[in-house]
């Protein structure tokens, strides 16, 4: 073993107790940091301020963009399409169709506005307003060059649920049961 390796080894051995800081409580960790020459109080204050900005920044961004689109709002909250589908007990395909407003507004059960508003941390009125607008075209990249883009005709919500191959049976049954509540 070279001298360098040996010195490495001695340092690592002498500090091996630092290898399991997850077994130390906050008081002991603070003591260890003081021993290392750190100003713990100042370091913690700066960290909490930084963490607050990190969390606040994400929430602020989400609030500002809350009705730009359902999926972009969800994304700002850390939810992708499957995450939003789980949070709302819909399916990825239904979530995407609602995002594009490919579902006939008049056929959407009241409960869907509630669950979307809840999942997006947005006012129900904003979600309702968003879903009332005209359908959105498919993204440009997916058009075929030899076809003119068409504005699709909105689909009935329950038809969409029935034809959805991606949804679990339990969720399908629960959603179809909402037809009696309208």
């Amino acid at each position: 073993m070279s001298e360098k390796d040996s010195t490495d080894k001695v340092f690592e051995s002498l500090t091996a107790w630092m290898d399991s800081p997850d077994t130390m409580d906050l008081a002991e960790l603070r003591q260890v940091r003081r021993m290392m020459g750190d100003n713990v109080e100042q370091s913690e204050r700066e960290f909490l301020s930084w963490l607050g900005n990190l969390k606040g920044g994400l929430e602020e961004t989400a609030a500002m963009l809350e009705i730009e689109s359902i999926l972009s709002s969800a994304k700002k909250l850390g939810l992708d399409a499957p995450g939003l589908a789980d949070a709302t007990e819909l399916s990825v395909v239904l979530v995407m169709k609602l995002d594009r407003r490919l579902i006939d507004f008049g056929s959407i059960p009241e409960k869907i506005f509630d669950v979307l508003a809840n999942a997006l941390h947005a006012a129900k009125a904003l979600v309702t307003e968003y879903l009332q607008q005209p359908p959105v075209l498919a993204t440009e990249a997916r058009f075929r060059a030899n076809e003119n883009p068409k504005v699709p005709e909105p689909q009935n919500f329950f038809d969409a649920v029935r034809s959805d191959k991606s949804i679990g049976e339990e969720r399908r049954v629960a959603l179809l049961a909402l037809s009696g509540e309208r």
Partner: protein, 240 residues
């Protein structure tokens, strides 16, 4: 009826929009201030050790590249988890605590920084030595100087540093020699045994190992303070 976009295309597009998973997002926003402070301090301890290892390996202390410090390495690791650049695989790091995934991220960032700086230094010395093809005496002297610095970096540590570490070890051994349990604990550390292995070796519970660590550190606090430069920093702050 043509809805313009097929269900399959919608599902594919949804997959492409992947970001921070909701489980992680929910966990990250649910921790208490005390939990965050505990993990923050634990991670700074880990990052500091990683950075200090570099000193004992290369003799280069002081600032890390790109303005990083142990604290900012920890912040970068947490930021990566928050914005989804680092995905929390809950099978690999189970449970509700993020300490496992954050520790791995801290070690990875610290390792990258150290490797990057060591590589730059090596590349600079190599290049300086190779490019310098002047045949005059000044050029030769410069080349020899570069070569000697390169060799110093590659091959050895100053003997005083090796001697110093041996001295630290001797002082720690002397500090605990009257306590058989603490001496045994130190012997386990020197064999690089982990907490659970120490418990097994000493035939005690893991909680008892934690207790031994506390007692060990209480006895050797000033020696470690010196090893980490804490004593000098405290003196500098006091003198400033």
């Amino acid at each position: 009826m043509d809805y313009g976009t097929t269900d399959a295309e919608l599902a594919l597009e949804a997959e492409e929009m992947k970001t921070l998973d909701p489980e992680t997002e929910k966990l990250l926003h649910g921790y208490t201030e005390e939990e965050w402070l505990t993990w923050y301090n634990a991670l700074v301890v880990i990052a500091t050790r990683e950075c200090k290892k570099r000193y004992w390996r290369t003799g280069k202390d002081g600032h890390l590249p790109e303005g990083y410090s142990p604290e900012t390495i920890v912040q970068e690791a947490i930021a990566r988890l928050f914005d989804g650049r680092r995905q929390w695989n809950h099978l690999e790091y189970p449970g509700n605590s993020p300490i496992g995934i954050l520790r791995a991220t801290v070690e990875s960032i610290a390792g990258d920084l150290v490797r990057s700086q060591e590589h730059k230094r090596y590349a600079y010395l190599e290049s300086a030595a190779d490019d310098d093809d002047d045949d005059d005496s000044e050029g030769r002297a410069e080349r020899l100087l570069h070569q000697s610095r390169k060799n110093a970096y590659q091959l050895s540590l100053p003997p005083d540093r090796t001697v110093y570490l041996s001295g630290v070890l001797s002082r720690i051994e002397a500090r605990v020699e009257d306590r058989a349990d603490l001496s045994s604990y130190l012997a386990c550390l020197l064999r690089e045994l982990k907490r659970s292995q120490i418990a097994e070796e000493l035939k005690v519970s893991p909680d008892r190992v934690d207790e031994l660590r506390k007692q060990f550190l209480a006895r050797t606090d000033d020696i470690y303070q010196e090893l980490f430069g804490g004593k000098q920093q405290a003196q500098k702050k006091g003198g400033a």
